[in-house]
Symmetry: D4
């Protein structure tokens, strides 16, 4: 047997949506370029097969053929793309995404874009870090009008604890790699969230806005539709 270096054998998990309520997504980072291109050709607009591409670097997207780029909705901040979105969900629920600062934008937007792709509604509450508590206090009531809360924060991630102590909603916390030195690429924010002094905060991997949206979707899918 001799290896064909072009086309690693992809086994697409099309049954995932039926099995767990979430369609498969393509994690682009580290995938060979030719492999990504093949996948993007297969799942463009008009194919009737919604697939989300995450961690798709602008330089990679820019290198695609124009015809291919035109059938994709690409956002360079969140590094996400899709050819088609899932149909809107009818559940009576929406997600509040609260972030510590604008430096967290990539992750905040990855969560937002994933929710949009999955057909869910959300509200954005950026730059709400606890160094200036008045910012969070001013929007707390509106945040609590959402059914699920995603908290995105780097550095000490104190926002997760403060908000967790102020809301009865499910809180999904996403640490970000913002910061330097002891921020340790987000490891310290992750630890803060996992040992939050507020009970019942649930945590995602560092910078995993996509995962937070999926966790929120699993909860929203339990709610009544209307």
């Amino acid at each position: 047997m001799t290896l064909d270096p072009i086309s690693p054998g992809v086994l697409f998990d099309h049954a995932r949506k039926a099995r767990i309520g979430l369609p498969e997504a393509v994690f682009c980072q580290g995938k060979p370029g030719s492999n990504l291109r093949d996948l993007m050709v297969s799942f463009g607009r008009g194919q009737g097969r919604p697939v989300l591409f995450t961690r798709l670097e602008p330089s990679v997207f820019d290198s695609l053929d124009d015809s291919l780029k035109q059938v994709y909705d690409y956002d360079p901040v969140s590094k996400t793309a899709w050819g088609e979105k899932c149909p809107p969900s009818a559940v009576l629920g929406k997600v509040a995404i609260v972030s510590g600062g604008t430096a967290d934008a990539q992750v905040t937007r990855e969560a937002a874009r994933t929710l949009e792709y999955l057909g869910f509604k959300y509200g954005l509450f950026e730059d709400s870090g606890v160094a200036g508590l008045w910012r969070l206090a001013g929007s707390l009531e509106e945040i609590n009008s959402h059914q699920v809360i995603i908290v995105v924060a780097g550095l000490d991630a104190a926002l997760a604890s403060v908000l967790g102590g102020l809301t009865p909603r499910p809180v999904i916390a996403v640490p970000t790699s913002v910061g330097y030195g002891l921020a340790r690429q987000g490891e310290s924010a992750l630890a803060s969230m996992l040992i939050s002094c507020s009970p019942g905060v649930a945590v995602q991997n560092i910078d995993n806005g996509y995962g937070a949206a999926c966790a929120a979707a699993r909860i929203l899918n339990l709610l009544p539709t209307g």
Copy 2:
């Protein structure tokens, strides 16, 4: 000012239940013994104030006066105690607690006891590790009949990924400190759960069965009552 070594100034957060839907709990580990005793006197059965005590070592509980022990429901496996439970919740939902092995019992039971204390229903599915997949396969349908799933696993924690790929339910994963060497007191199980190849798995701190139950409660509190 001269310090009184006996009674550190406790500020009990009685408003927590109203604010976030979860009553305050007492984390006993590391608290001075006299302080614990004072708290247990205050919150025993018949006081009308439900409080959960977690991480209460058997040796500490055994050292209490008999009269105090009699007004507490104490479980030495989960190391939890309460004087009174919260009233049963009317929500139409229950939690499946799935564990990798019987060595995870302390954490599995801490989650179960916390749910019981909070007034929620649950089912236990222990010893379901993926080294023998037939065990999980045999109970998957019953597990999926619950609204929320708590996965408790140590070692490689592969159970979270496998189950996360088989259920549409919210999955709250709790790594345990079971194992030795590279298990690193649960750090490796934690990492496995955070980087699960199944999307939307939400994670708690190592051995934090209490936190998993609280996270489940935040979700259950969104569901209709019946």
Copy 3:
């Protein structure tokens, strides 16, 4: 040369007080018992030489002769002892010690006892963790009436960031080893404090209440006397 196992050659730094404003202290942990006993005999009450003993375990103190114990003021929570205190300072300033919870008592009290020994005034604000923000809010004005603030907190140590964003005072933050799992014996609280989103928070080693008091003393010694 043959070793005498009894009396390692101690070189006491009596000039320290004149040089840096702080008398030498004896860190007892790990010191051979016979060495500790010799030192305690030398520095008891009535010798005119104030020395603070820190990390002196109750079991070690209890093993001393009664006559020696009687000339020492020992506190088992903070594990500190002195034969004589330094004379009261005349500076116009005092320290607020704010802690996250009663489980931090050993460190909180080590800071308080060290300040008392050095002759400074302080106020204690325990159990002020951010999971219930009303506790901190209620005492903020009084805290700010002190010139220096010591913050003692374990777990996610969010208290340092929240308080750092609410006070113009110098903030000396001490992480504690309270917690389990990702608390990592205080490493996570330490990291949180070092990467606080509030500017100008200065940090001590984990559980180092003594060091926090010394850092506060260096500041207080700059203030006018009255």
Copy 4:
């Protein structure tokens, strides 16, 4: 809701100066370029709103319009910029900044520039590492004529301990990421400073010259004015 990728919702904390005595600063690293440009337009010279920009890479500053660059005082070594400085402080105090070597220049200068921006006086004592103790000895008296000392050092950071044992002043220690191998990007210098054998040394995050200046400012603001 569809995301606008251009302008994440900034909530500027203008009240910070009144609340904690330090105006808000903009941490530029990782912020989207368009967001930075908007902020720099808002806070240039003549706007009457002093804001400090830190961690602003020369390549980013160079990419700005000439007209914008002309209203900013930018220093490429410290990577700091401001449109306007705060008015000079009237406090009777100044800061000594002592560094181990010229390789620490970025951090040393970030501290110095921040103090200049905040309106405080300082003196610089660079290249004073303990491998040649005569350098520190020669300037010790002059260093001690300042009210607050900032120590900047990488590698083993022994300078903090040596200086801490020679001065009664508040010592704010900043570890730097200078070195390789076991220097671990400054983690070892940080640890050395936190476990200094000299009491009362207070520590900042790795390379955080800005934070050291803010901590010094909190102290200086306690001093009498003249």
Copy 5:
């Protein structure tokens, strides 16, 4: 003695094949370019001396003279090259290489290419991660028809445990550096494999497809020939 910067003194271990059954290989990463070129000239096609070059970056290979490139079989995905292969082995055995996803291709292919170079047969089963168990289930019988199994997986590496619980074959597990955040460049996958809940899984260094093939070869060399 003055150093010649061009030709570090190479001592080639030609006796390795006779001693341990595996010819020496050249690990190219970090080797000076001139040294690599000298080695490639020595071991090209027609020299009768099979040598495998691993971790040979495309940019390095591309910089070689065309005449040299033509005598090498180079694969840019696995970054391997050889001038001549070893003669085919006559053992009655072959290797199944099973990978979690196509992002693992570099490692998967390094194992495959090394086996081809050594003269062994193998089958490839890519994209078999446990998030969609049906993929593994569908090929299990065919996988078990091989004598040795190499498992290549990143992230949580749950595939090693699941497959280890389904096959009696020797399992050689290779963690990959695929993933971000808590994936920690493959450290977490490595830990998962080492603490697999399935017994007898043997592990290689992160991304070491070459080593996995060598370990498989040591086993295959025990089997009867036919």
Copy 6:
């Protein structure tokens, strides 16, 4: 549902032997005592069901009833026990277990006892560390007369590399937690083995002699019987 603290729900994997060639074993560490006792009653001599108990502390074994102890073959060095062994294997192969020193005895013997339990033959070559190479040199020929080699070593684990460079056999390396300081409870030995300069060394978790024996068994089961 109310928890019964006595009998966690065990699901024994009796089909494991048929599926993967290795019967299930009971990892005793951390299991509740009552649970262990129940299991040992079920699997004692004469029950026809061979089960291996590992990590069974002498203090736990000693606390059993005498009647139960008499039906078990227990070894306190390896901390292993069985009621019945598996029938002897007929494969034409045996295992050499080579250790660095006698301080590795617990792990060396756990591997040996597991092989004995599984029905395989082995030879022991203890105290063969490379600080005195003559020890290994003297037994190399005899070691190579075995089909599989298990190397057990702590500290720098150089033995794995040296032996890996001298034998064509499959090498299964087990790091041990012997040593202090930078030995880091075996983490450094583990790393040394994983990055061995000899190719094809396969590694087990720290102190996992049981796993090494299972990995050897998977290989031996491929060999012809005689």
Copy 7:
């Protein structure tokens, strides 16, 4: 083959002294008790075979028969024992052992005792930490009259850098596990010594006073005899 749990096969390296100038030593920690007793019987006074026992806990030594204890010179601070010492060396050289504090006594004394056992002369300079530089300054000239310097220090280990900058002698640095929190059981002291800003400091494992003495002996053995 059935294991004899009593007597693991010891292979004593009697040729070590001839080969490397240092006789073999017995590292007692973790060795089974019966094994230690056998070794101590073999190497007691009058056997003509000098062997050093290190890390021999007082509780283990105390458990020996009185007759055996009487033929050993045991020191409980350094935890070392020997039956016979090596004959005095005739080299014209001696070792200065300089320590940071009396809490380092176990390591300081292990180095001293090992040198005594090997037949070398040394001088002790304890409690010379840099927090009070006058202590080191006062003995520097005498320290430099020795040919080799061993520096023993915990915490920030600044002593190694300061002394390394003041002496032309070979400096062998031993970090100790003294301290808490960021001391990390000596890891931070180790790092400080390895990245010392003074050139040519050579480092031993944490707490390895024995190794430091051996490294000193290797140097002393180069010197002329007299």
Copy 8:
């Protein structure tokens, strides 16, 4: 005071040579370019002031004026430069530098170049890794004819232990950052050397060939001259 970004205040330690026998060196990594250029102008050939520049990247050296480059002896493999060398030492001793492989060349050569600069003699024994023990065996006698041995090795660094067990000479071990995955940029090689099973191996920081040469120089300076 306004900062001059061009010329940080250098305090050159010209007295170092007299104090510790080693002239000051300039560690170039991370130093601002203008600062480096100033230093190189000051210490070129003909100035009578020997200074060694280490970690001087080829790209930095190439950017210098031709006239400046011509007065420097620069070696791009070791990244070292000098204008003048120290006069040759008259000591009766030389250093053997033994390396594991040619990938260690940068470090091996940095040690060699530093010795050449300091005026000492040395011999090079590269590519002597233990995977092929015959290479080391073949040159052992010649290696032992040197007075001091520097061992340079990456990966598992087993060479230090093997050689340490075969030579009576002082052994200075330098770990290198060669390798990937668990090599952890040389941390694992460092640990292996620090916990070597051969006694008296002294260790330098990762990749610190310069430090190893300085440590060797401190020893050589003790030897008689001839």
